[in-house]
Structure formats: structure tokens, C-alpha cells
């Protein structure tokens, strides 16, 4: 048996124009825990999906135990002893633990034999690794931590020697996460090889032997965990990017226009996504919310703009309540001067099959100036759309074209034009430059600063740290649903990176 459990050589994978994995090399020694860390979109999950047979690499070689293998389907991966715990669990919710563990590995056409085998095997695994779980419990009645344990059991039941965990702690409480780490260490002692994908530095430091850092589709470094520091990793992860230069004068903050107090939001599964968040945004300043995607930013924005109900807390728009826990209505808030550029441009900010001019009134479609008698005033709407097209340099300059046919940058300009040209008092902007070309980024950034200089209160959410740093007057960092720190734009990338990875600054200083 080779000492190297997994070896990836020159893996490349593109999706259309996006080069998700670029000439990746990776070696994972047997019986170790190997961390792979990187920001969202760095290509970690793509790489692991290639290893598990979800995708085929465009080029490159995979060696398991020193032997070159081809993995076309999850079945192949399972046969080579690879198991995967997905970020979103692949469990049948109304099945029992036993049924889920057996699914796809039933041993025989009839279940009876398989059931007793599985029961015995679960019993053994429970004894060996302390993976306790009631085999007859129904998945949907189990807490998330136990559901994840079932995923691990599934992999072990199939004889996995290599276990890949994709962001395993995203849904866990700290106590559950610690328990998971204990289990992982135990598995390692039994000779299993573990690959842990995460964006949390603390986890890397706590549990891994080696760590590889990915950035923008490439593997930038591999270190022994004992010989590196969180600072070094944070820097490798974020990279030393040239700060985009944005001409920006001093902020001139005025009255508080938006204030949020003790806001808590749960998602449909009952998981707390926003946890007791409070902050203010003043007229004439840009407040940036930094953080890795999925730390509650989306839910925070949706609650403030009236799209999602909050569990508790209050929010005031220009001193008047928004009604975040009940009565909030996006339309009414728009009327009161709140503009919202949503992060999900394709499904929320725009209706892609609509013609451009139709999208230029989305949310403002009952405004008097667009209505004449019982009808929409098409001339007024189209004239208005043409003016915006000119002012925002939207191309092609044809308001009768389907929105789906515009490029990402121009689609975003359509949304910005709609939201900014209404003279709002508060502008909430989420991921303003996601999927947008460089030329448009500069334009969008300029417009956001102009808004500030006109005395609007701007709340900016972005996972692009550069963007946050170059635009914001104050920076809040969100992690696990909470605001974990406030910094000035002068804060270093390393400092912000640590906060974003859930490492408190005191800890880092030690």
C-alpha cells in the first residue's frame, strides 16, 4: 500500500468561461487529516466533486493508493473507498437512519438480510468510533449534528477509507462541531484519511495535519499545520491583491437613516441565520458588511427590506419602524425611500424573460407616473427606460430587448438604474459586482460613491473584501449570523480575514 492516499496531478476544470480548477496538484498522505481552505468560489467544492465522480476533469490524473484511476460516477468513487459528506445532506428525510445507511448498499434484492447486516455494522461502528445514533430514528426528527453523523456512517458502511467533508460545520453549533472534530481524530487513529473543506481557519488549526490553500481556482500553497499560522493562511487565502483605486473623498455622515436593533432571523428549517444584530447607517456614509457567503448576510438584507420575516428585533427607516417581524412590505418601504439592489439578480432583481423596459419598473410598477387610466403608460415607461439606458450606458441601448440577452454587467446596471434614480434615502446594495465585467465594476463603484456624496445612507454587502475596503467608510464583519467586529477601511486584509474566518482578534493576538 502506498503511503499516499490521494494524489491529484494537473487537474483542470472549466465551466464555460469560468476556469474553476487550474492545474491543481495535491497529495494527501494516508491516515492524516488534510484541510483545504479558501474563500467562496475558490474551487474547493469543484475539486472534491471531481474526486467523487460528480464531474469529469477536463484534464489531469487522479491516483488513489498510488494507482491511477478514472472516476466517472459516485459509484466508482465508492468502489475506490471514497466517501463524501456533502454540505447539503444527501439524506431521505422520511427514512430511518438504517434505511438511509443501507440505500445503495443493500447487499441483496430483499431487505431482510441487509437490515440485520446494517444493524450489526452500525453497532460495530458505534462501538469503534463512538458514532452513536438510534438506527430506527427518522431523519427529519434528528438534530442536524446527528444527521451529519448519519452521513458519516453512510460512508463508513460502504467501506470508505477516504472521507471528504464539505464545509461540515456550517450547520453545526460549536459544541456539535467540537464533537465532530473528536470523531474525525478517532477516524484518523483508525487509519482513515480525511479531507476537510472549509473556509474557517480555526477549524483548520484545530484538527488538521496539513493544509492546502486555494485561491481563484489554483492551489496556492500547502503547509504543515503545525508550521503555519492563521495570519499566514489568511493572507494566502485572501491574497495580496492590488486594492482597486476608487476616487473617494471624506465621508460626511449626517442623521441615522437606517437603524437595526437586536435583529434575529431564522430560515425555514429553523436554523438561526441572523443572531441579535444591531447597527446604524447614517446619511452620507457607506457601511460595508464583510463576511464569507452564508454567514447570514442574505437573510439580514431580506429582513431589512421586507422580503423575509424576522423572528425578533426592530429596524427603523428614517426613524419610522420597518415592521421586520410582521407588517413589512417591500412596496411600502420603497415608497418611504428604501432602494434595494438584491444579490440574486437573476431571480429576484430581474425577471429575465422580460424586456428591458419591463424590468426598469419592477417594484415601482404602481407608481403614478407609469400609469394612465387602467393601463400602464407604455410611452412613459419606455421613455424613462431609455433615459436610464443613456445615463447608465446600458448596452445594447435597446429597451425592447429581452433582459436575458444583456451581459451580467449591463443587467446589473439595469437594476442599479432602477433603484438609484428614484432618489432614495437609503440604498441597500448586495454583491453589486458579482459576475460583472471589469469596466462595469468601476462604473458601479463610482455610482455608489456618488450616492453617498449626495447624502444617501448606503448599506453595502459583499463577499469581495476588496470591494468592501475600497468603498466603505465603516466595515462590519459578519460571522455565523453575528456581527463580530467593526473596523475602519484602514484595517489590514489579514485582520479582516481573521474576523471573517471566525477568529476573534484577541485570539489572533495571542
Amino acid at each position: 500500500m502506498s503511503e499516499t492516499a490521494i494524489e491529484l496531478i494537473g487537474i483542470n476544470k472549466s465551466f464555460g468561461a469560468v476556469h474553476a480548477n487550474r492545474d491543481i496538484h495535491l497529495e494527501v498522505p494516508r491516515g492524516t487529516i488534510h484541510g483545504i481552505i479558501g474563500e467562496n468560489g475558490a474551487g474547493k467544492s469543484t475539486l472534491m466533486s471531481i474526486l467523487y465522480g460528480f464531474y469529469q476533469a477536463d484534464s489531469g490524473e487522479i491516483r488513489i493508493d498510488g494507482k491511477t484511476v478514472t472516476i466517472h460516477t459516485p459509484n466508482d468513487a465508492i468502489a475506490f473507498g471514497i466517501g463524501m459528506v456533502h454540505q447539503h445532506f444527501m439524506l431521505v428525510e422520511n427514512f430511518t437512519v438504517l434505511e438511509n445507511v443501507m440505500l445503495g448498499a443493500e447487499n441483496a434484492a430483499l431487505l431482510a438480510g441487509g437490515i440485520s447486516d446494517a444493524r450489526a455494522e452500525l453497532d460495530r461502528l458505534e462501538k469503534e468510533y463512538g458514532l452513536e445514533v438510534d438506527p430506527d430514528a427518522v431523519i427529519e426528527e434528528l438534530p442536524v449534528g446527528l444527521q451529519q453523523r448519519v452521513e458519516i456512517l453512510k460512508a463508513l458502511y460502504r467501506g470508505a477509507e477516504i472521507l471528504i467533508l464539505d464545509e461540515p460545520t456550517g450547520v453545526l453549533t460549536p459544541a456539535e462541531a467540537n464533537h465532530l472534530f473528536r470523531i474525525l481524530r478517532q477516524l484518523k487513529e483508525q487509519g482513515k484519511t480525511i479531507v476537510l473543506i472549509t473556509h474557517k481557519l480555526r477549524e483548520i488549526m484545530a484538527v488538521t495535519d496539513n493544509v492546502s490553500v486555494m485561491r481563484q481556482g489554483t492551489m496556492v500553497a500547502t503547509r504543515k499545520t503545525a508550521e503555519t499560522t492563521v495570519e499566514e493562511l489568511a493572507e494566502l487565502m485572501v491574497g495580496r491583491r492590488v486594492l482597486l483605486r476608487v476616487e473617494k473623498g471624506e465621508a460626511n455622515p449626517g442623521d441615522v437613516m437606517l437603524s437595526v436593533e437586536g435583529l434575529t432571523v431564522r430560515d425555514s428549517r429553523g436554523v438561526t441565520m441572523v443572531d441579535d444584530v444591531s447597527f446604524n447607517v447614517r446619511a452620507g456614509e457607506i457601511v460595508g458588511i464583510a463576511g464569507v457567503a452564508g454567514n447570514g448576510q442574505s437573510q439580514l438584507i431580506e429582513a431589512i427590506t421586507g422580503i423575509r420575516k424576522a423572528l425578533s428585533g426592530t429596524a427603523l427607516l428614517d426613524g419610522q419602524p420597518i415592521g421586520v417581524t410582521g407588517s413589512a412590505d417591500p412596496n411600502e418601504l420603497r415608497g418611504r425611500g428604501m432602494a434595494h439592489v438584491p444579490e440574486d439578480r437573476h431571480h429576484m432583481g430581474l425577471v429575465l424573460p422580460f424586456e428591458e423596459y419591463e424590468n426598469s419598473i419592477l417594484g415601482y410598477h404602481d407608481d403614478k407616473r407609469y400609469i394612465s387610466g387602467p393601463f400602464l403608460d407604455m410611452d412613459a415607461i419606455r421613455d424613462d427606460a431609455r433615459v436610464k439606458i443613456g445615463k447608465y450606458d446600458i448596452r445594447p441601448d435597446n429597451c425592447r430587448l429581452k433582459t436575458a440577452n444583456f451581459s451580467g454587467g449591463n443587467q446589473q446596471k439595469i437594476v442599479l438604474a432602477r433603484e438609484m434614480e428614484r432618489d432614495p434615502s437609503v440604498l441597500v446594495v448586495a454583491q453589486p459586482t458579482r459576475g460583472v465585467d471589469v469596466g462595469a465594476i468601476e462604473f458601479i463603484h463610482k455610482r455608489i460613491i456618488e450616492m453617498r456624496d449626495q447624502g444617501k445612507a448606503v448599506l453595502l454587502v459583499s463577499v469581495e473584501l476588496d470591494e468592501i475596503r475600497s468603498l466603505s467608510d465603516r466595515i462590519l464583519v459578519m460571522f455565523a449570523g453575528r456581527v463580530v467586529g467593526e473596523r475602519t477601511p484602514e484595517a489590514t486584509e489579514g485582520e479582516l480575514g481573521l474576523l471573517m474566518a471566525g477568529v476573534e482578534s484577541q485570539e489572533a493576538a495571542e
Partner: protein
């Protein structure tokens, strides 16, 4: 969602591909004709001749088309909101009451225009009411509207049988139907319209409801594409998330859309009852509610497509009747097959040929074929 969004010229997307789908449906239908030992080409000639060869044929074709315009519009309006109203049949059937009751009550002393007006309102109101319950259950309790509207078709049928063998049947009569309406319950024919085109014929059932159907088409077009309500309906139909963002009340729009859909289906009852039979009888809808599904799919839910699609099906109904004289093997049931094939190829399999056409275009013009990664993205 499922298929990557490959950009094709609009005329391919909205013209060529639907046309090819339709062609495939008719080729398969032709094969069925061949199977029963007749010539598809001869059958097609007979059909076109039967439908358009005489003023009488045209009259019947347009009479049937009138029904299908209403039911096609009904299905289309619901489609725009992302709803599948399979209950047009039942809504039209029960709305027969909204036509027959005013006629029975008013026909002896009021002129037809007044009775017509009341009947229009009556049929629309009852059709809307019959659609309201499934709509409300969908909007408020999440009951699948396809299933509830199917159930409501059957319930409507039971209600109508009950009424027609009971309360609505004149005493002493055996037939399950109302009495024949007097003059006030008869709609004027449109023979003059046909005569304008030089056809001089004996009377056909084509009546003023046809004009009402054209008006309804215009109204639906204006409603869907020119009013705030239509804008909200389409936003919700394309993207519930965008609707929520825009502050559109989802439940309200679902209920209103379904009621409009039900009202349109209901108005279909005017045509056979007041325009032709002059009484309410069992099963007068004869599947027109279901033909509406094929018409809406074929007409791409736009009145400009629905009217020709309805006329095509009117032609199939009328021409099909003509064929059966000369080809005893081919009865009107052939139309039911064609209807099914159109729904299959223009609806369920509408994307089947898209990749092929895309590749074809790609090989002809490589530069025009870019896969829009932004649209093909997640979710």
C-alpha cells in the same frame, strides 16, 4: 431551468421550433391515418376543403373556433401566472347556468342584447366562482391546483346532471335539458359576415359570440401586457422570488388570475347555448375545455397565436366531420388524437428538438452561439 439557455434568434425560438413541433405532431397523426388504411394527404385535402371550401364550412369552422378561443384564453391567462387550469371544462359546463337561467327568466320580455349582456355577466361570474375555490385552496392551503380543478370538473358534471334531470327540466319532458328559449334568448347569426365574403349559404351556427371572442382576445392581450395586474401576473409566473421582491401579493394574484381564467372559460357557454342550441343540455361543452389546453400551448399563450390555433382546431372539428363521410375509418375522434399529439409535442416535449436545432445553428454560424453562463448558473 433544466436546459442550458443557449441563445437562438427569436424567430427560431418563437417561430421555427414551435412550427417544427407542430409539424411532428401532424406527421405522427398522418401515420395514424396511414395505419387505418387511408391516405393522409387525401385526408388533409378533404379536411381543408370541408372546413374552408364552402361558406357553410367556414361558418362551422368559426363557430367551433369561438369555443376554443375562450377556453384557450382561459388556459393561457393561468399559464402566464404559472398555473395550470385543467378545469376549463367544468368551469364552462357550470357556467352554462349563468347563460341559461337569465335566458329562461328574461327571454319572454327582453330583447336579445339585454339578455346577452346579463348572460355574459352571468356566465363569467359563475365560471369565475367555480375557479375560485381551487384558486383559494392553492393560494392559502397549497392544494395542488391541477388536482383540485380536475376534481371540480367531475363535481360540475354531477351538479349539472342533477339540475338537468331535476329542477331545470320542464315538467313532463323526458330529455335532460331546459326548454327551448324564446326569441330573446337567441343570438343573431353572422351569416351576413360570411355573405360579405361572397358566400351565400344556408344558415350556420356562427353567431355574435364569435365577435365577443375576438373582443375577449383583445381584452386579454391588453390585460396581460398593458395593465399593472397583467404585469404582476407575469412577474409572478416567471419568478415568484422577483414578485416577492417587488411587493406583489402572491395569494391575491393567484386568486384573481384563476377567476379571470374561469370567467373566460365560462363565457364559452354562450356560444353553444345562446348561439346555437337555444337551450341548456347535457355535456354541451364536449371537450372544448380540454381543447383549450392544446390551443394555448400551440398559440404560446398569446391571443395572436390562440386565435389561429383555435381556428385550426375549428377546422379539424368541422373538416373532421366532413372526412368521416368519405372516409368512414376516420371519425371526429381523429381530432382527439391530434389534440393529444399537439399537447405532447408542443407542450411536454417542446424542448426535445431544441438541442438539435441549436447544434444545427451552431454549425452554420459558430459566432452566434454562446452559452450564457450567467443564465445557466445555479438554482
Amino acid at each position: 431551468m433544466a436546459t442550458p439557455y443557449a441563445k437562438l434568434p427569436a424567430w427560431v425560438d418563437f417561430g421555427l421550433i414551435p412550427f417544427i413541433n407542430l409539424l411532428v405532431a401532424f406527421i405522427v397523426a398522418g401515420m395514424v391515418v396511414l395505419l387505418v388504411g387511408e391516405s393522409p394527404l387525401h385526408a388533409a385535402t378533404l379536411m381543408v376543403k370541408g372546413a374552408f371550401g364552402s361558406g357553410e364550412g367556414v361558418g362551422y369552422t368559426l363557430f367551433y373556433a369561438t369555443n376554443f378561443i375562450f377556453t384557450g384564453l382561459a388556459v393561457a391567462v393561468a399559464f402566464h401566472c404559472g398555473l395550470f387550469n385543467i378545469g376549463g371544462e367544468g368551469q364552462a359546463y357550470i357556467a352554462g347556468l349563468g347563460v341559461a337561467v337569465p335566458c329562461l327568466m328574461l327571454d319572454s320580455f327582453l330583447p336579445w342584447p339585454v339578455v346577452f349582456l346579463v348572460a355574459i355577466l352571468g356566465s363569467a361570474a359563475i365560471g369565475a366562482a367555480w375557479a375560485f375555490i381551487p384558486a383559494y385552496l392553492q393560494a392559502r392551503r397549497g392544494s395542488h391546483i391541477v388536482i383540485t380543478t380536475i376534481m371540480f370538473n367531475f363535481i360540475a358534471s354531477s351538479v349539472m346532471v342533477y339540475l338537468l334531470v331535476g329542477a331545470l327540466k320542464p315538467k313532463g319532458s323526458m330529455a335532460p335539458q331546459t326548454r327551448t328559449f324564446l326569441e330573446g334568448g337567441h343570438l343573431p347569426k353572422l351569416d351576413w359576415l360570411l355573405e360579405l365574403f361572397g358566400a351565400s349559404i344556408r344558415s350556420t351556427p356562427l353567431n355574435v359570440t364569435f365577435l365577443l371572442a375576438l373582443v375577449a382576445s383583445a381584452v386579454v392581450w391588453a390585460l396581460v401586457w398593458r395593465t399593472k395586474l397583467g404585469y404582476e401576473i407575469r412577474t409572478l409566473g416567471f419568478s415568484p422570488k422577483a414578485a416577492r421582491y417587488a411587493g406583489i401579493n402572491e395569494a391575491k394574484i393567484i386568486v384573481i388570475t384563476m377567476m379571470i381564467s374561469g370567467a373566460l372559460a365560462g363565457m364559452m357557454a354562450l356560444n353553444p347555448i345562446m348561439g346555437d342550441q337555444h337551450r341548456l343540455q347535457l355535456d354541451f361543452v364536449t371537450g372544448a375545455g380540454f381543447v383549450g389546453i392544446a390551443v394555448a400551448l400551440m398559440g404560446r399563450s398569446h391571443p395572436a397565436g390562440i386565435i389561429p390555433a383555435a381556428i385550426l382546431f375549428g377546422m379539424l372539428y368541422q373538416g373532421g366531420a366532413e372526412i368521416s363521410f368519405e372516409m368512414p375509418n376516420i371519425s371526429r375522434d381523429m381530432i382527439v388524437i391530434i389534440q393529444g399529439l399537439v399537447i405532447l409535442f408542443a407542450g411536454a416535449l417542446e424542448h426535445m428538438l431544441r438541442p438539435t436545432v441549436s447544434t444545427l445553428f451552431a454549425s452554420m454560424k459558430p459566432s452566434s452561439m454562446t452559452v450564457d453562463g450567467a443564465v445557466a448558473g445555479d438554482n
